[in-house]
C-alpha cells in the first residue's frame, strides 16, 4: 500500500466513532466517587466537631480551675465551642439536604458535586479559622506573660496547621473538579 491509501483507510474511521460511552459504567463510577466523598465528609465533620469541643472545653476548664482573668483565653474557648456549633449546624443542614436530589444518574452526580462543593467551602472556612484561633492563642500567651519561645513554637504549630489545611483544601478542590468533568462527560453522552 502507498501512504495515500493508508490515509484513506484512516480517514474512513471519521464516519464511524471508535467508541461509545458506557453510561452504566459511568454511573457506577459516579456512585463510587459519591460514596468516597460522603465517607471523607463524615469523618472530617466529626473530627472537627470533636477536636473543637475537647480543646474548647479544656481551655475553659483550665481557666475556671485557675480562676484566670485572661480574657483572650475566654474568647478563645468561646470561639472554639462556637466553631464546633457552626460545624454541627452545617452537618445537620447537609444531611437534611441529601434527599433533594433525584435518583437519576444526573441527580446522583449533582448530589456528589453538591457534597464536594460543601467540602471545599468547609475546608476553606476551617483554613481561615486557624488565623483567629492562632491570634487568640498568641494573645493569651502574651497576656499570661509566657516566654517568647513558647509563642514561637505555638506560631510554628499554627503555620504548619495552616499549610496542612491548605493542602487538604486543594485535594477537595481537585476532587470537585473531577466530578464536574464527569458531569460534562455525562451531558455529552446523551
Amino acid at each position: 500500500m502507498e501512504f495515500e491509501e493508508l490515509r484513506k483507510i484512516w480517514d474512513a474511521q471519521n464516519d464511524q466513532p471508535l467508541y461509545a460511552i458506557n453510561e452504566k459504567a459511568m454511573y457506577n463510577l459516579i456512585l463510587s466517587k459519591k460514596k468516597q466523598a460522603h465517607r471523607i465528609t463524615n469523618i472530617s465533620e466529626l473530627l472537627i466537631i470533636i477536636v473543637y469541643i475537647i480543646t474548647g472545653s479544656f481551655v475553659l476548664g483550665m481557666n475556671l480551675f485557675d480562676q484566670s482573668s485572661n480574657i483572650s483565653m475566654y474568647v478563645l474557648c468561646a470561639w472554639m465551642l462556637g466553631s464546633a456549633f457552626f460545624m454541627l449546624v452545617n452537618r445537620i443542614r447537609r444531611i437534611n439536604g441529601d434527599n433533594q436530589f433525584d435518583r437519576s444518574m444526573s441527580g446522583d452526580l449533582d448530589h456528589a458535586i453538591s457534597v464536594a462543593t460543601y467540602q471545599v467551602r468547609i475546608s476553606q472556612i476551617m483554613l481561615w479559622n486557624i488565623l483567629p484561633i492562632g491570634a487568640l492563642t498568641i494573645l493569651s500567651l502574651w497576656e499570661g506573660g509566657k516566654p517568647i519561645w513558647i509563642a514561637m513554637v505555638v506560631l510554628l504549630f499554627f503555620a504548619l496547621s495552616y499549610y496542612a489545611g491548605g493542602w487538604e483544601h486543594n485535594i477537595y478542590k481537585r476532587k470537585k473538579r473531577e466530578l464536574e468533568v464527569l458531569k460534562n462527560k455525562l451531558d455529552n453522552a446523551g
Binding site: A12, Q13, N184, D187
Partner: protein, 169 residues
C-alpha cells in the same frame, strides 16, 4: 472565565472533537482498562485547558496538543500500573464500537502502537493532515526533525503494509 462559560466550551469541544480523542486513546493503549483510564485523564486535562485557550491555534490543534501531551505522559508514568490487571469483572466507560471495523484500520493501529511515543504522535498528526510546521509546534521539535522522522515513519509503514498485503491478512 466563569465556570458556566468553561463548561459550555468544554461541552462543545467534546461533542465536536471526541473522535480525535478516541483516536489518540486507541493509538496509545492496549487494553480496555488502559483505554478507559487514558480517556478520563485526557478529558480532565482538556477541561483544565479551556481557560488557557487564547485562540492562537485552532481548537483541533489545541486539543491534539493537550491530548498527545497527556497520552505521552500517561504512557511514561501510568501504563505500568495496568499491565497486570485482568479484564474480567471490570466495567468500562468507553466501549468499542460494535460497527464492523476495517481489518486494515486495525492493522494500522497495531503498527502505530508499535512506534515510540513521539513517532506515534507524529503518525497520528500526519494521517490527520497536519503540516510539518503544525506538527513541530504541537510536539515541540524542529520542523527539519519532523521531516526526517516523517520520512522514516512513512517508509516503515509502506514497507510493512506491503508485507501485510503479501500475506493477504
Amino acid at each position: 472565565m466563569i465556570e458556566k462559560e468553561q463548561q459550555q466550551i468544554f461541552e462543545d469541544w467534546l461533542s465536536q472533537h471526541k473522535g480525535l480523542i478516541f483516536k489518540i486513546v486507541r493509538a496509545y493503549t492496549f487494553t480496555v482498562v488502559e483505554q478507559d483510564d487514558l480517556f478520563q485523564e485526557i478529558i480532565i486535562q482538556v477541561w483544565h485547558s479551556v481557560p488557557k485557550f487564547r485562540g492562537e491555534a485552532s481548537v483541533i490543534t489545541w486539543l491534539y496538543r493537550i491530548s498527545l501531551n497527556t497520552a505521552i505522559k500517561w504512557t511514561k508514568k501510568e501504563r505500568k500500573h495496568y499491565q497486570s490487571e485482568t479484564l474480567e469483572g471490570v466495567q468500562h466507560i468507553l466501549q468499542e464500537s460494535r460497527m464492523q471495523t476495517d481489518e486494515r484500520l486495525i492493522w494500522l493501529y497495531e503498527e502505530i502502537y508499535k512506534l515510540d511515543e513521539i513517532d506515534r504522535s507524529l503518525t497520528l498528526l500526519l494521517l490527520d493532515g497536519f503540516s510539518y510546521k503544525e506538527m513541530a509546534s504541537i510536539i515541540g521539535i524542529t520542523e527539519s526533525n519532523v521531516g526526517v522522522k516523517i520520512n522514516r515513519i512513512k517508509k516503515q509503514l509502506i514497507s510493512k503494509s506491503k508485507k501485510h498485503d503479501h500475506y493477504g491478512i
